[in-house]
């Protein structure tokens, strides 16, 4: 049995919330009956496929569709000129309010120039996959290669080829706090480190897919694997039609992790449907996905940390250079997250931070679980480990010494307003792990590492985030919930049912959640940024409170009961010596014009927009803290690393569904271990060599141990019932924990990801072990 524990510090009598209930969506998935985006088919359906640039930087000198269009079965071949508004604006997706975010654009189909290997240039639509395959080969496109730049540091140097006018600097954030130079001058010890992270692919099991059609009213409807139904606005803009004439439906998604946050098939499907007036299906191949979908930002992180002999950190200097790839997407925001999280869950005294992201002709980079807060963990936790060694202070102790507490202020200026259980998470993993195991044989070494992290949940406060949900009773007492939240596997939809069940007493099997439809469900924003429990959870909470209070008020009046004494539960309305069936109570409501349906809207915390020189008293709603522990065994002759043991502890505030929480932690840790040890998008001067899953290595079941989880519940989160977000936080620590464990095993630290066997051997050599 995967061992996991839950430790609650604020007990509440919860009936449904906090139960490890099997999720209602899982039943269908396990039966095999869930219809994902690629599972729907229509008669007289067409198929669409993109023709993509084979080179990373080029002028397009010729485009000719005649031969391709003549292939029997081809409906049309489209170039950029065929797109009414051939631009994808990068606003922040899913926002209900316009924000003055960095606007950068890219073409839906490139007309004049391509900037990355795989950029879409033509769209072919045909009546069969076979005709498509033939026609795509025959689209005649000629390129004249241009000089490109493939490293962000080089891209920022004078004279570098400009990926976009006027230059390659896309975004910049600075933090200056306190007197950094004085802090360094006064320090007993200064530790320096340079760390590199690599471009990583989401590698969800479901490649991008969707189906589009015109409904009976001529509304362009897209049923696509997406984390954001609000992209209907972007599609409408591209086609030049009113927003209200586009509908996006999000079925259950086969994994998102941020890779389905930006548009994927939407604009192309929409174009094909709009042009042909017929249903169209688009299924990207895995190879296409690996080639051209935005990746996690590769980052170069330079840290200098100043501390006293007793381990107190006096100052941090951080320099971050991130690769934005060929188009902006969400890079500026990713870098903002990196900047805010760059010093970790610690008091660090004075700070000087410079963070820049640069355009290159590499594949674009954008959102990926952790969103910039993840890469910096490798930096700040490696520094903590080096500091611990230099000062001969145990790694656990040095972290506790510097741990943030309620009232402390982050370098960016935001105070921590909730209780921080960092020390408890450190103790939890150390207690759980016990002693370090012995090596399994000669020429093997065992090491242990720990890593703590901080990761925000909820969106940047100046984005004016909000979410809405509609909850309504049926006359028979069953419940309907409508919420625009896309469910990407984290139990987003079923959590809403659990919350509603807790508040209204309706049993889970009498609650139906309709989700993810931009036309028919109230908009709840993106399933990203670990925000949905906070946002749509609270929206459902609000709607349920309205319903409950309305119903109880009506019953109190009608039955002459004192209102305060009434309770709503599975048995209906009850009080001391009184009981009423729910259906009867509903009749009373309707007679008294008390609504039995309610729309709840939850508005996220607000703040002022940030500028380049970051200083804000509020950037994120709140944060989740945690610590991981990892034991590894290293083969000193081959450099292969085996993860023997992994324990992860997080304060989740309140676990709405403990099994879902454990699942999120376990899955995120394994994804993090993949980045630590295995995964890399192979680029050679912008040419993406990653040809398939045979090359892009994600962890399989034999690559990881059972992930042991310790779930702490402070009750201090801002989500319903005091929950914090848990989707992203656990992906941060694994790289650092593994690196520290390897350092412990062989005596030298890996500083480049992924930590391949070759890099481990280099550490073994550097430490002077006999080779």
């Amino acid at each position: 049995m995967s061992a996991s524990e839950i430790r609650s510090s604020k007990a509440e009598e919860l009936r449904v919330v906090h139960q490890p209930l099997p999720r209602h969506d899982q039943q269908e998935k396990i039966a095999g009956s869930t219809r994902y985006a690629g599972d729907l088919a229509f008669s007289s359906m067409l198929h669409a496929r993109l023709v993509r640039a084979p080179v990373p930087s080029a002028k397009i000198t010729r485009r000719d569709a005649a031969t391709a269009a003549a292939v029997p079965g081809v409906a049309c071949v489209l170039f950029g000129e065929d797109v009414p508004h051939n631009l994808i604006w990068v606003d922040v997706p899913g926002q209900t309010v316009e924000v003055a975010a960095l606007k950068a654009s890219m073409e839906v189909l490139a007309t004049d120039r391509v900037r990355f290997h795989g950029e879409p240039v033509a769209l072919v639509v045909a009546d069969s996959e076979e005709a498509l395959a033939e026609a795509c080969d025959l689209v005649d496109i000629e390129y004249e290669e241009l000089p490109g730049v493939f490293d962000p540091t080089e891209a920022l140097a004078p004279g570098a080829p400009a990926v976009h006018a006027p230059g390659n600097l896309l975004g910049e954030w600075n933090i200056d706090r306190g007197a950094v130079d004085e802090a360094f001058a006064a320090a007993d010890v200064i530790v320096e480190g340079t760390y590199r992270t690599q471009p990583v692919d989401h590698a969800y099991l479901e490649p991008e897919a969707g189906v589009g059609w015109l409904d009976d009213e001529g509304v362009l409807t897209l049923r696509v694997a997406t984390q954001v139904v609000e992209h209907y606005r972007d599609v409408a803009r591209i086609l030049g039609i009113p927003d209200s004439r586009v509908r996006v439906i999000a079925p259950y998604v086969g994994g998102g992790f941020g890779g389905k946050e930006d548009m994927t098939v939407e604009p192309y499907l929409a174009l094909a449907v709009w042009r042909t007036r017929r249903p169209v299906k688009m299924q990207w191949t895995r190879q296409e996905s690996l080639l051209a979908r935005p990746k996690r930002h590769a980052m170069l992180l330079r840290y200098r940390t100043a501390a006293c002999a007793d381990g107190t950190i006096l100052g941090q200097e951080v320099d971050i250079t991130a690769d934005s790839g060929a188009y902006a997407y969400l890079s500026a925001l990713v870098l903002l997250y990196s900047s805010v999280h760059a010093c970790g869950p610690y008091r660090v005294g004075s700070v000087r931070l410079r963070a820049r992201c640069a355009y290159t002709n590499n594949p674009p980079t954008s959102a990926f679980r952790g969103f910039g807060g993840m890469q910096v963990v490798f930096g700040y936790e490696s520094q903590m480990d080096l500091l611990a060694r230099r000062l001969s202070i145990p790694p656990a102790d040095i972290r506790k010494r510097n741990a943030l507490a309620r009232g402390d202020v982050l370098p960016v200026g935001q105070p921590i307003e909730t209780e921080v259980l960092l020390a408890q998470t450190i103790d939890a993993v150390c207690d759980r792990a016990g002693g370090k195991p012995r090596p399994s044989g000669p020429r093997r070494a065992v090491g242990r590492g720990i890593a703590s992290n901080i990761q925000s949940y909820g969106r940047l406060v100046w984005l004016n985030d909000s979410a809405a949900a509609w909850v309504g009773w049926q006359l028979d007492g069953s419940l309907t919930v409508r919420c625009g939240v896309p469910d990407i596997g984290g139990g987003q939809a079923s959590s809403l049912a659990q919350i509603a069940s807790e508040l209204l007493g309706t049993p889970m099997d009498r609650i139906t959640v309709h989700f993810g439809d931009s036309a028919l469900t109230p908009l709840a924003g993106t399933t990203t940024a670990t925000r949905q429990l906070l946002m749509s959870g609270n929206a459902v909470y609000e709607a349920c409170v309205l319903l409950r209070d309305g119903l109880l008020g009506a019953v109190a009046e009608a039955a002459g009961q004192p209102p305060g004494g009434l309770r709503l539960g599975p048995g209906g309305v009850t009080a001391e010596g009184f009981g009423m069936d729910l259906r009867e109570a509903l009749v009373i409501c309707r007679r008294r014009n008390v609504p039995i349906e309610a729309l709840g809207t939850f508005f996220g915390p607000k703040g002022k927009p940030v500028v380049r020189d970051l200083h804000a008293d509020r950037v994120f709603p709140d944060f989740t803290f945690g610590t991981h522990l990892c034991d590894v065994e290293v083969d000193l002759d081959t450099g292969k690393v085996r993860v023997l043991r992994y324990v992860a502890a997080h304060d989740v505030g309140r676990a709405i569904n403990p099994r879902s929480v454990e699942g999120q932690i376990s899955g995120a840790v394994v994804q993090g271990l993949g980045m630590a040890l295995l995964e890399e998008v192979a680029l050679d001067d912008g040419v993406n060599l990653t040809g398939g899953l045979f090359q892009y290595l994600i962890p399989a079941s034999t690559d990881v141990p059972d992930i042991e989880t310790v779930v702490l519940e402070s009750g201090e989160g801002m989500g319903p019932f005091g929950a914090r977000g848990i989707g992203e936080p656990p992906i941060g620590p694994p790289s650092a924990a593994v690196a520290s464990a390897i350092h412990d095993a062989v005596g030298h630290r890996p500083v480049v990801l992924p930590i391949t066997p070759e890099r481990v051997l280099a550490c073994v050599d550097a430490a002077g072990q006999p080779g």
Partner: protein, 288 residues
Amino acid sequence: MFTRAFRYERAQRYTDACDLLREHGEEAKVIAGGQSLLPMINLGLVQPGLVVDISRLAEGRELTVTGDGYLVLGALVTHARLAADPAARAAQPLLPAAAGQIGNARVRNRGTLGGSLAHADPAAELPLVMVALGATYEVTTGQASREIRAEDFHLGFFTTGLDDDELIVSVRAPVLGPGWGWSFQEVARRDGDFAMASAVALIRSADGLIIESRVAVGGVSDRPLRLADVETALTGCAAADLAGRVGPIQGISPAGDTGASAQYKARLTRVLVTRALAEAAARAEEAA
């Protein structure tokens, strides 16, 4: 997966299959297990006009130990069958050990011995073991057959000594004789991935001294390589001194990639050869 159409013909006998290959030349591709061909078709690397299915031939499925010390395997024996067969394990344990490392269970259920040998991926397990064992392959044109030694068959990257109308019918490999020990070593990034390097050793020893050996490496050249100089250096050597006799491996030319450089693979090869020798020697001791 989303490929152009091609034609399909199912052969009943080797002669039919070879006839079809002669008739259709370059546009015809043979499919047995399909575990190498179909991924290449799905990825658009190969576009046959005709696929000749030999997976249901009545022939090519034997697995027998002969009286004169050979294990004879039909070309259509699947990796799963070879990995699990008790007779094969008793006769030549190197073969089931190697077959069991191939890919994953699904690949092993469909993939065939003949298919793997004919595909000739330089990092594949079975060509390496066949070269190490000095196995011979029987190949046919449907009209005539000939024998070809493994080391003469595997010529380069995905290149073999097969003529365009020839198919492998069976493989003859020596059984593990008395006094012999064996070892199969490979290191991949994950279980079942293609090896970054692999090594096979067979050692016959007596009274703690090496009498003869066969050593070969895979994944570090365009085909499996016998290490004749290592074999020579080992003769007469004491089992305890083996590690000292293995220097940097000569004659290999590993290809570097993002995950592992050529230098690392060369270093890994030496480690694996050393380990293979130690394990084979230990097994030889036990066998004595």
